[in-house]
């Protein structure tokens, strides 16, 4: 602190914020600046916090399972339609709509009905459906069954059914870990990659290295700020899921913390790598989309990545988002512990380290 001329010194200014020692710490100041400027972007807060919650809410409601699901089928109006519709309506598995011929085809095409039943003037009705859609096949089986019973078929051997609904097997249980994974990816890429490219474009990076600032302090502060967000964003998604849908973490919390931490570090390092040299916002946005797109498509955030052909599986399974999604699902829904997710954690650490050192090697401050 400089000695000031006592006669000209104005009264001491009001102090606010961190106390002296901390205020003089570069790592603290850099982290604080990062957190504050992030907090003050309302659109960022929306994407980080509100978006995953709204997504969980919308998809959780759309795919909720209340009672036994019924297949919705359509009966085209015409001669003989009344008796066919009456026969089908007796089935517990079917919900029957009566449709004028003009609307029937469109309803089938748009997925409003899974099967279209066209009653003939004589002979059995025709069933129109797309055999590649699972829900159409299910509806077709139920429709055939209902028509045969109405025609007088007797059940020969009816197996006893024992209904079981396991917690952790609903769609929302599947979805929530995927949303956490997606969120970690997005905030890692934007929070690091976008910020760095932006600062380089504004020559702020150059201004920073014109000071004696330690470069390691700068990078460390970016990571510390990310970890703070990690706790907040994951906490909000988990809390929302638990409150609204009764989701839970059934396995090890330690494993959960480890996977989210390593996932965040891996995505942050990839974000840093994407931004090593880009000088414009447009450039870095394009690059980030190129990097994120394969993971959005292949990593199974909304449906299981197992659905992709075996040929693609080696690629799909090593993508960092697939690793995070699958590990979080194992922990949350199947009660997995550290041992189960250790291979995924190792691979995530490898992604993070490789990206980080590549980024350090090629990083440009101006």
């Amino acid at each position: 602190m400089s000695e000031r001329d006592a006669s000209s010194a104005p009264p001491p200014a009001r102090r606010r914020g961190a106390p002296g020692r901390l205020a003089r710490n570069a790592l603290w100041q850099l982290t604080r600046a990062r957190v504050l400027s992030f907090l003050r972007e309302p659109e960022v807060a929306f994407w980080v916090f509100a978006f995953p919650v709204l997504m969980a809410l919308a998809l959780g409601i759309a795919f909720r399972t209340s009672g036994t699901p019924r297949s919705r089928i359509g009966v085209e109006q015409g001669p003989g339609a009344d008796s066919v519709a009456a026969a089908l309506a007796r089935s517990a598995d079917l919900e029957v709509l009566r449709l004028p011929p003009a609307e029937a085809e469109a309803a089938l095409r748009r997925g409003r009905i899974a099967v279209l039943v066209r009653a003939g003037a004589d002979g059995p009705p025709t069933l129109v459906s797309d055999p590649t859609r699972p829900e159409s096949r299910l509806a077709q089986l139920a429709t055939v069954d209902a028509l045969e019973r109405a025609a007088g078929r007797a059940d020969v051997a009816r197996p006893r059914a024992e209904p079981v609904v396991r917690p952790g097997s609903r769609y929302i249980d599947f979805l929530l870990p995927g949303l956490i994974g997606l969120n970690l990816l997005g905030t890692g890429m934007w929070g690091i990659g976008f910020a760095i490219a932006n600062w380089r474009q504004q020559r702020l990076l150059r201004r920073l290295i014109a000071t004696p600032m330690k470069r390691s302090d700068f990078l460390l502060a970016m990571l510390l700020a990310r970890l703070l967000w990690l706790v907040l964003e994951v906490g909000i998604i988990l809390g929302f899921g638990a409150l609204v849908f009764g989701t839970a973490v059934r396995g090890s919390w330690l494993a959960f913390a480890l996977v989210t931490l390593l996932g965040t570090l891996a995505f942050s390092a990839i974000g840093l790598l994407v931004a090593v040299r880009t000088r414009t916002i447009e450039g870095v946005t394009g690059l980030m989309n190129v990097v994120q797109l394969p993971m959005w498509l292949l990593s199974g955030s909304f449906f299981s990545a197992e659905r992709f052909p075996a040929l693609m599986q080696p690629l799909v399974q090593v993508l960092p988002l697939t690793l995070v999604n699958n590990a979080l699902r194992a922990i949350m829904n199947e009660g997995a512990g550290l041992a189960t997710v250790a291979p995924a954690a190792g691979l995530l650490a490898a992604w993070g380290l490789a990206s980080f050192f590549a980024a350090l090697r090629w990083f440009r401050w101006d």
Partner: protein, 319 residues
């Protein structure tokens, strides 16, 4: 305030460079440049855009590397970013042209952030007071006017009480009032014993602030001296600008009494004269003789701009 001890018998220059060369793929930005800035001096690099001023100052600041040549800053050379470089940076204040701070941080937060990078320096509150931004202490950087931003940029450059201050175009794009306010702040730093290297393309700024000025063009120093001595090289300190209807033969005009130089500008003429009250009547008589009626006439004191035009045939803001 106490004077810093600047009366050493053999004062080493605060800053020097010799044979500096920087070549970009399409242009030779700096062409064998030699400079020496004395301790306690305000030194100006004056030149049009593209003269190589920014490249030169960034090499001296250790933010850019020269292809060849020698640079000494406060008796030290730039290394490769290790401990010695950081120690040197502790003593430098740097303002970059067009560098922006984070829009969503306040003035005080920005100054505190930069203060934390230095081991010694004044309290952030004092720096903000020095640059007269107390009222904007809590305002976000994005909400500041151009002049306020430049003052913040100066505050950040002063946050370590530097021995040597680099200012790259500190008042470009500012209104006259903001410009004068910054000049006062820069002059105050200079009075406290600080050394300044500044670049500018405003001759008025160089005349007002600088002890010595190097006029640069195409990466080279055209001339270097105090502003008064540079203006004195014109041989006279008044400039008469005039325009006429039709054609004019300039040769006889150049031989009129008291005229030391006559030159043709875009669609006008300029004379450098010692005594306007002798030369102007003579000019009017000559115009009458040539039958070229006067369309416009104005006089001003010779400036560094006239020195530049005299050296290059172009004005500072031509390109």
């Amino acid at each position: 305030m106490l004077e810093l001890s600047s009366q050493t018998a053999v004062a080493r220059p605060a800053l020097s460079c010799r044979g500096l060369v920087k070549r970009y793929p399409k242009v030779l930005a700096v062409d064998r440049l030699d400079l020496e800035v004395e301790t306690g001096e305000c030194f100006g690099l004056l030149g049009p855009n593209g003269a190589g001023k920014t490249t030169t100052i960034e090499i001296l600041e250790g933010l850019n590397t020269a292809d060849s040549g020698e640079v000494r800053v406060l008796d030290q050379t730039w290394g490769r970013g290790g401990g010695p470089d950081r120690a040197l940076r502790e003593r430098l204040g740097i303002q970059l042209q067009e560098a922006k701070f984070q829009d969503k941080l306040s003035v005080i937060e920005t100054v505190e952030l930069f203060r934390s990078f230095y081991r010694r320096g004044p309290d952030p509150e004092d720096v903000i007071r020095t640059v007269q931004l107390e009222e904007k202490r809590e305002a976000w950087v994005g909400k500041l006017s151009g002049g306020q931003r430049q003052r913040l940029s100066l505050a950040v450059a002063l946050v370590n009480e530097p021995d040597l201050l680099f200012l790259d175009e500190p008042t470009t794009g500012l209104d006259p009032q903001s410009r004068r306010q910054l000049w006062d702040l820069i002059a105050a730093f200079r009075r406290r014993g600080g050394t300044i290297l500044l670049t500018t393309h405003y001759m008025e700024e160089a005349e007002r602030l600088c002890d010595r000025v190097a006029i640069m063009d195409h990466g080279r120093v055209l001339t270097l001296d105090t502003p008064a001595a540079l203006i004195a090289t014109l041989g006279a300190d008044h400039v008469v600008e005039f325009a006429v209807e039709g054609a004019l033969d300039l040769a006889p005009v150049g031989r009129l009494p008291g005229v030391s130089q006559a030159r043709r500008e875009a669609d006008a003429f300029a004379l450098i004269v010692r005594e306007p009250h002798i030369s102007i009547p003579a000019l009017l008589a000559e115009l009458g003789r040539q039958g070229a009626p006067l369309r416009h006439l104005a006089t001003h004191h010779a400036t560094l701009e006239d020195v530049f035009v005299n050296l290059t045939g172009r004005t500072l803001r031509d390109e």
